[in-house]
Symmetry: C2
């Protein structure tokens, strides 16, 4: 068995604190503050197991209120209302809260991200003055009533209606169909006193599409107001500290000012006014302002994966089973090739998504602080947020599962955290948009060159639009051609034979492969859509048949963005051991990505079977190289020790 290239290199020494500093980036201070605050609430992790749902939901509420007092949850609100005035910092704080109990995290997300975010982004000064100061402290709890039993992904088809009554200058909010009750609404079952309700707005008999209104649900004593019916959603797989519920509205009257009127308003005399003419455009502009929800879910998923990896890697460094290299001592399980193969690629992907998330957070911050204001950037941000959320949540699910199995039976005991991690994060793939639907939106943006608003997934329209263009035009418009230029630029000598002549550990090679795949998949989708329509098939049927290609193209796009973020981060680092170590991690991330899709690369002439096998060998070699620094790589996540629990798995002294 000949030694592989990577193996000849020296093992880097990893300074954990320094690596943490790199991971923490510009929000190190905020992250540290949350890390310091969280251990006081470590007991919530146990409460989740021992308390009844009722008790636990009250306990989680208390913790959320205490966190609000520390300022950690209000970073994203304007300072004049008691916030921190820094949206990027609020995402970093939320990400770090992902190390703790996830019911607390989600309740924070509901109260400050969804409810607070809607008031801030969709409302105007009157709403800000009325609600923000109180909601930032948590004195006023609210909920975000968008999803209905019958409609989650397709928000434009909601069945709740708000009709303007001109005589009373009020809106009348009504649940019009059995499947139009608001469902899965966090904070609704117990604590919300008001709701931001998304409803079809009707003025003078004319529909204007979905708009948001503030509707009071309960009085100060917590009694339901007239016309409101609320039902608990009952026990859930996880997140049982969050009080999700269903809400029915029976002709509930709210004043005209209840309409969150930043983008559209109804005058007293019943005239609908908006600066945005197109109803679709208006709706998607509103939705677009809520993008921070998706950014937050992605961030929290990555944190949950980090917790799981920290436990599993340390367990692999304590647990021995079977004699292997010696007759006397059983082998550390992390010294088994298979165990490395199971954990290290997931560790590498988690690093990659961490840095991709950092870029995304920066873009979000720039867009919402007014640094960047053009519409194209906004759509790119929405696309990037959706795609990163999908990849991060799926990665978390996979990572937590593999880490749990890598801890054997012990991983099944609640005290070792995997039970809650698995159960609580499972819904992340679904909420803030089903991952597959989100990837379709990403693909639509790519295929139409962001010609329409992000959420406007009209499949028929998209298919017809693409079918109306020449494939070359699609590629031109999708900037996929720029990718190919990028391939040549990244490699020496114009890179004409980059797929055979470059070293397997050359980041230029990795980027070229990811870019080629994206470009080719997008072109393929365009071709298939055109061919189907040209053959006279129903456009919906065409879409259905091409759907898995659509998802694959979107995925390839987001994976390329993730890889670029990681490669650029490492390239910008000062030379030294840390750069060497992160280079290994980046190589492993990139190569396992190519390896996982090597069938596709072979099918498309970009990988010989010889080179494909060489990649698999190189992945094994990289794992062996990472093994000596695996503990440092997870310790740099700096998950506070009390949050790891799992004393039997990781020992008492481990962790940040």
């Amino acid at each position: 068995m000949p030694d592989d290239t990577a193996e000849a290199w020296p093992t880097p020494t990893v300074d954990v604190a320094e690596l943490t500093r790199i991971l923490d980036g510009r929000y190190a201070e905020v992250r540290d503050a949350v890390r310091k605050a969280l251990p006081s609430y470590a007991s919530v992790l146990e409460d989740a197991e021992t308390m009844s749902r009722d008790q636990f939901q009250e306990r989680v509420k208390e913790v959320v209120l205490e966190l609000a007092d520390t300022g950690a949850t209000g970073m994203g609100f304007p300072e004049e209302y008691g916030g921190g005035g820094d949206l990027g910092a609020s995402i970093a704080a939320f990400e770090t809260l992902g190390y703790g109990d996830l019911s607390v995290l989600v309740k924070v997300g509901v109260q400050f991200g969804l409810f607070g975010g809607a008031i801030l982004q969709l409302g105007t000064k009157v709403h800000h003055d009325t609600y923000l100061a109180d909601l930032v402290t948590g004195r006023l709890m609210g909920c975000f009533a968008m999803t209905e039993t019958g409609h989650g992904s397709n928000v434009q088809a909601l069945g709740t209606v708000a009709t303007y009554d001109q005589d009373a200058a009020e809106f009348v909010v009504t649940t019009t169909r059995p499947d139009a009750c608001k469902d899965y609404i966090g904070n609704a079952a117990r604590h919300a006193r008001v709701a931001v309700v998304f409803a079809q707005l009707e003025v003078r008999g004319q529909g204007h599409g979905v708009h948001a209104l503030v509707v009071p649900l309960r009085d100060e004593q917590g009694n339901l107001l007239p016309g409101i019916r609320i039902e608990d959603d009952g026990p859930k797989m996880g997140l049982n500290g969050v009080d999700n519920g269903r809400i029915w509205f029976d002709g509930v009257r709210v004043p005209r000012e209840a309409l969150l009127n930043r983008f559209a308003d109804v005058t007293e005399d019943g005239t609908y006014v908006s600066e945005i003419e197109s109803p679709g455009r208006r709706f998607f502009t509103m939705l677009g302002t809520l993008v921070q929800g998706r950014v937050s879910v992605g961030a929290a998923s990555i944190s949950a994966a980090k917790v799981a990896l920290t436990i599993a890697v340390h367990y692999g460094l304590r647990r021995r089973q079977f004699e292997a290299t010696s007759e006397e001592t059983e082998e550390l399980i992390l010294d088994y090739g298979l165990h490395q193969r199971r954990l290290f690629p997931l560790l590498a992907h988690t690093y990659a998504l961490h840095f991709a998330q950092e870029v995304l957070t920066d873009h979000l911050h720039d867009a919402f602080s007014g640094t960047v204001t053009d519409e194209e950037s906004r759509r790119l941000l929405e696309s990037r947020a959706a795609g990163t959320k999908a990849l991060a949540t799926w990665l978390a699910t996979r990572t937590i599962q593999e880490c749990r199995e890598a801890c054997g039976g012990a991983g099944y005991l609640s005290v070792n955290r995997f039970a809650a991690l698995k159960a609580d994060t499972d819904v992340f793939a679904t909420f803030e948009g089903d991952n597959n639907v989100l990837l379709q939106l990403v693909a639509k943006g790519l295929l139409t060159d962001y010609a329409s608003d992000f959420e406007d997934l009209d499949q028929l329209g998209m298919v017809k639009f693409v079918a109306g263009l020449a494939v070359e035009t699609v590629l031109e418009r999708t900037r996929a051609h720029k990718l190919l230029q990028g391939i040549r630029d990244a490699l020496p000598g114009g890179g004409d034979s980059w797929d055979t002549d470059t070293g397997l550990l050359d980041p230029g090679y990795h980027l070229a492969m990811y870019r080629f795949r994206e470009e080719h998949l997008l072109g393929g989708v365009a071709r298939r859509l055109k061919r189907g329509v040209d053959a006279g098939m129903n456009p919906g049927e065409v879409f259905s048949r091409v759907q898995d290609h659509v998802i694959a193209a979107a995925r390839a796009h987001v994976e390329r963005l993730v890889l670029e973020a990681f490669v650029e981060k490492v390239a910008a680092m000062e030379d030294g051991d840390l750069k060497l170590a992160l280079n290994l991690v980046c190589d492993l991330h990139a190569l396992t990505g190519i390896e996982a899709d090597r069938a596709w690369f072979m099918e498309h002439g970009r990988l010989t079977s010889q080179r494909a096998k060489a990649i698999t060998r190189e992945v094994g070699a990289l794992c062996r190289r990472i093994r000596p620094v695996a503990a440092e790589l997870v310790d740099a996540f700096a998950v506070p020790r009390p949050l790891l629990r799992a004393p039997a798995l990781v020992g008492e002294g481990t962790g940040g």
Copy 2:
């Protein structure tokens, strides 16, 4: 988009009752009896969510006792002790119990399979007379105390010791190290009055390896006996109706007759006697008699997957989202290509594993009813049980996860069953042997031609053994060469170019591909092991590096067995619509298996990139062909309606 071959065929009509009859096979009566009994206990599914752990564990115990009264749980015991005298029937009954609450299932497994099985298989008449009648009724609850905190997979290294005290004619049982306490032991925390304890037997200062003894834990009032300490394992991810615990023994004395002495005994004067000379062989013969545990876990996993698929497929036939093929109506989500792609291959794999499990159950029955007695058959049975358990449990985890995501946010509510299905089945990949360890055992059996006992995984020995042979000899001994002969026999014209000239839907082609892969992977493992040892590497290090190939070879072997079982089942059916339908399912199973591993086939010259792409297209076409009969395919599992719960997802009237 040209139409695919499969699409030109007519859609079969599926008679659900008739398909159920085929699935139920020879144990239809037993399965029906359990199906009739289960709905009375459907309320346990809700109790799991609403009761405290204490209450729920008592409730589950009650249900187990009531089920014992029906005779469903005692099928595998001799009739003279109140059993049914039919081991195959007992597996079928257990499999069907997998439709219900899984704490009940696992407690049944612990009491009757593990505890009862150990008494029956490892004990002799005195033990049978003392315990069987009472344990069959559940009057005597017991536990199976094998796993320790420090050792699960490597049972030979257990730290509990039983020393023979000749003067008293007693064994003294002691927990010798902190990590030698028995751990995760079902029934231990509350209900077991006795335990079958696995301990290192020491007689006259000499160790004889691990043996099993019956040790009383509690008196009739449930008080712990002297020298016994028991601790609750605490809340778990799932299965909280089972009282798992840790047990410490502090010099506990049991009479000489406590030793389960079917394979070895200690005479009164302290002489160790056994008909099996080799200690390793003796131990593995004992373990081998407990194979039904693994067969049972595999069976239950398949049932859990069936429940998940039934819910998800029916949800896909009710839920609509987004206009696609028509402007007026939203599309059924099961009509989306991606949704079919997500669910149907898993449905096909579940069918395949069902039939593979049927073959395995038959082999088990034959071995234990004395029809088949040779040692080789026994080892083949153990290998097959281990491999099927690994594949079935992983498939269940994957299927339940995908089905949950395919039901969106609704899938997250406990009322819709996925919460419990996920949490309860998660440990199946770990218990009765970690899946990866089991696959290593399978590989070892293949590589050594079952020369040694099944569980005897001495990696050093195995590596040295294989390294000592020529690769050809390994292939000769592993019967892999028979596979290649099988390839030629299965195809017309000697099948010299079967990988390019046969139709994609030809079962002969599928079998040839699966057989080629198995043969090639095994040869590759042998070559790599030899090369490493020849190069002077430490054999343990060699094993570690080849470990993922070892697992891949074992997996390929079991997948081949599974495919053969399915192909043979369908081939033996009478011509007609049902055969047509199952042929589609079998094709989808086989082709998605090849598709998933198409990179490997391309790397090894057995698939051109053109043909690989054609397979992907064919899979899409098969999914569209299966769509019209999808409801019937899941309805044939005949999961009793009350056990599905999920009224909002599947409607009130669905299910058997």
